[in-house]
Amino acid sequence: MNRIHRGMALALVAVVGVSACRKSPETVATPTDTTPPPPAETCDAACRQRRADSAAAANAARDRAAADAAERARLAAIESARNTLQATIYFDYDAADIRGDARSSLDAKLPILRANAGLQLRISGHADERGSDQYNDALGQSRAAAAKRYLTDNGVDAARITIVSYGEQRPATSGSDESAWSRNRRAEFEITAGGTNIVPPQ
């Protein structure tokens, strides 16, 4: 403890001494204080360059972080747009009518398609396992066609969309109950062109 107090006292004296020195360079140092003063802070050109570099680096890092954040946001927006485009829609049993929830999903695709004229889609229609295989092929075709028709009726060029039916051959989930069947009565959307540089809608 005594050592600490003595150190503090010496530091105080040194500070006073330095301060006095700056104010009155002619003042003679106190004879009792033999501690040498710290060297005066100097910053030459190299120092200033270092400081400038440091500041520039900090600014660059900040800019990079901002750019990264912006890029992440952009990629997230692209991914979101891609997910929106590829979102599956579902149908009622033995029906190819666009349901309300499917309409919302298709509506969300429209601005993305309008903002990206190079985007092309392939819509595949599917059916659940019930009923005739051959009829289900045709039902899948009708479902894919209904989804395409909704998009083209809302301004999307028909040439940008192709359709295919897989009937009941590619179920999204296995099972023989309504839970599985409802997940398999669907139309899926695959981006076939223009998917790498999607411009998210504003």
Binding site: D133, Q134, D137, A138, Q141, V164
Partner: protein
């Protein structure tokens, strides 16, 4: 085979009666016959038939095939007896037969087969009269035990069944089906499963040309499902070509079926405005012709009547999925199974029987699919249901119009089974690891006179 009579079932029984117990009728006044053969000739009665052991290196195989074929034909009752036991019952080489014992075993007829080089000498005996009724030598030109050899033995079974019942059997036939994305063929007794396509692209819905010279099927390409026609060369080899040279991208094409003369193929073609049935010549580059008017709805799964003048198909153009009969050009369509408002039953996959008397189809209600038949004429009556176990789909008629091959999951996986519509008896045909679907029964492939 097309029967010219209206009641082939009765014909079968009459023929069986005429042959098997000609002697019984003649001796009907006998006060106490030593052996009374248990035939009543009521509908469903099957006369007993005994097949004696067959000599030669492949005698056991010949006998096993004949017994199984006659059993699967469902017109006779094959009396199962071990060969060893049978050896003590006969000495055919000396023309001595223990008819009383055969009779006590329930046999009305006995089949005696003798291998003679590359031929089989077949004699059918009337047990009651203890006389030989039919004799014929059959050539077996193919390599013993090969698939072709087995078909030739099957054809002998069919001839024996013709002698016994008046109706040729259906053993010398094969069934097409799809499994694991390939089209396969299999003998009518479940032997010799053989892939006809390589799985790329995946192939489905096979159909036979009426002369079995070609098969048609649908395959899932990158541009959608397309119909192909394949020649049936030796061991299933042969060239394959698209049915239609230029098909719109993204269109769906399935359910091909040949006309009875083989000159035309009907198939379903779907684009963005519904699915319609089209007709196109099997051979030649002629554009398809649309024959249904579904107005944006779906028409699929056509089947010709045996005379080629009518077709039956499934359509939802009036609401629920129902069956329609029309002229072969699609005109004069009328509902075979009218759709009633609120009726959610789906009736699909019709198949017109070779004798023209029935149309088989599948009906689905709330996930349960069963096999039915209905008469196509004006007095069609109510559809008759044949299955109630598991889900049952895709019926296809045998050449004798008595059996159906269909797809069912009753065994735990989708496999082909065969149904005798007169007795209701079923048997499993396939045990494919990847399951089997969409069976199509061939015409008779070998036919001995």
């Amino acid at each position: 085979m097309r029967l010219s009579v209206q009641r082939p079932g009765a014909l079968v029984l009459i023929a069986a009666l005429a042959f098997v117990l000609r002697g019984v009728v003649a001796h009907a006044q006998d006060p106490a016959p030593p052996v009374r053969i248990g035939l009543t000739y009521a509908p469903g009665t099957k006369p007993g038939v005994l097949v004696l052991p067959v000599n030669g290196d492949n005698g056991d195989s010949v006998r096993a095939i004949l017994q199984r074929d006659l059993d699967f034909g469902d017109r006779v009752n094959v009396i199962a007896t071990e060969s060893i036991a049978m050896d003590s019952m006969s000495d055919g080489s000396r023309g001595q037969f223990n008819y009383p014992l055969y009779s006590r075993l329930g046999a009305a007829a006995m089949v005696q087969v003798t291998a003679t080089g590359s031929a089989l000498h077949v004699a059918v005996h009337d047990v009651r009269t203890q006389k030989v009724e039919r004799v014929k030598d059959f050539s077996l030109a193919a390599a013993p035990l090969s698939p072709d050899w087995r078909q030739q033995v099957h054809a002998i079974s069919d001839a024996i069944e013709l002698w016994l019942s008046g109706v040729r059997g259906i053993a010398a036939t094969r069934i097409l089906y799809s499994s694991g994305g390939r089209v396969w063929q299999i003998d009518s007794d479940g032997a010799n499963a053989l892939p006809l396509t390589d799985g790329s692209p995946p192939a489905f819905y096979p159909a036979w040309h009426p002369k079995a010279t070609h098969v048609a099927y649908a395959a899932m390409t990158e541009d959608g499902m397309r119909v192909y026609v394949k020649e049936m060369g030796p061991s299933g080899g042969g060239a394959t070509r698209p049915l239609v040279a230029r098909v719109p991208a993204g269109s769906m094409n399935n359910s091909p079926t040949f006309s009875p003369d083989g000159e035309t193929i009907l198939y379903a073609h779907g684009q963005e405005n519904g699915t319609e049935i089209f007709a196109v010549p099997t051979f030649g580059n002629i554009a398809p012709r649309r024959i249904t008017v579904s107005r944006g709805f779906i028409s699929v799964s056509p089947s010709y009547s045996p005379d080629g003048r009518r077709i039956v198909y499934a359509s939802n153009k009036a609401g629920g999925l129902a069956l329609y009969v029309a002229d072969a050009d699609g005109t004069n369509a009328e509902a075979l199974t009218p759709f009633n408002y609120g009726d959610r039953t789906q009736r699909t996959d019709p198949s017109w029987s070779p004798d023209s008397r029935f149309i088989a189809f599948q009906a689905e209600m709330d996930g349960a699919t069963q096999i039915y038949t209905v008469r196509p004429g004006e007095n069609r009556g109510a559809p008759k249901q044949y299955t109630n176990q598991g889900r049952n789909e895709d019926p296809s008629w045998s050449p004798d119009s008595r059996h159906l091959v269909f797809t069912t999951n009753r065994s735990g996986s989708w496999q082909l089974w065969i149904l005798d519509i007169e007795s209701g008896r079923t048997r499993q045909l396939t045990r494919a690891a990847n399951g089997a679907r969409a069976g199509a029964w061939s015409p008779r492939l070998v036919s001995h006179q």
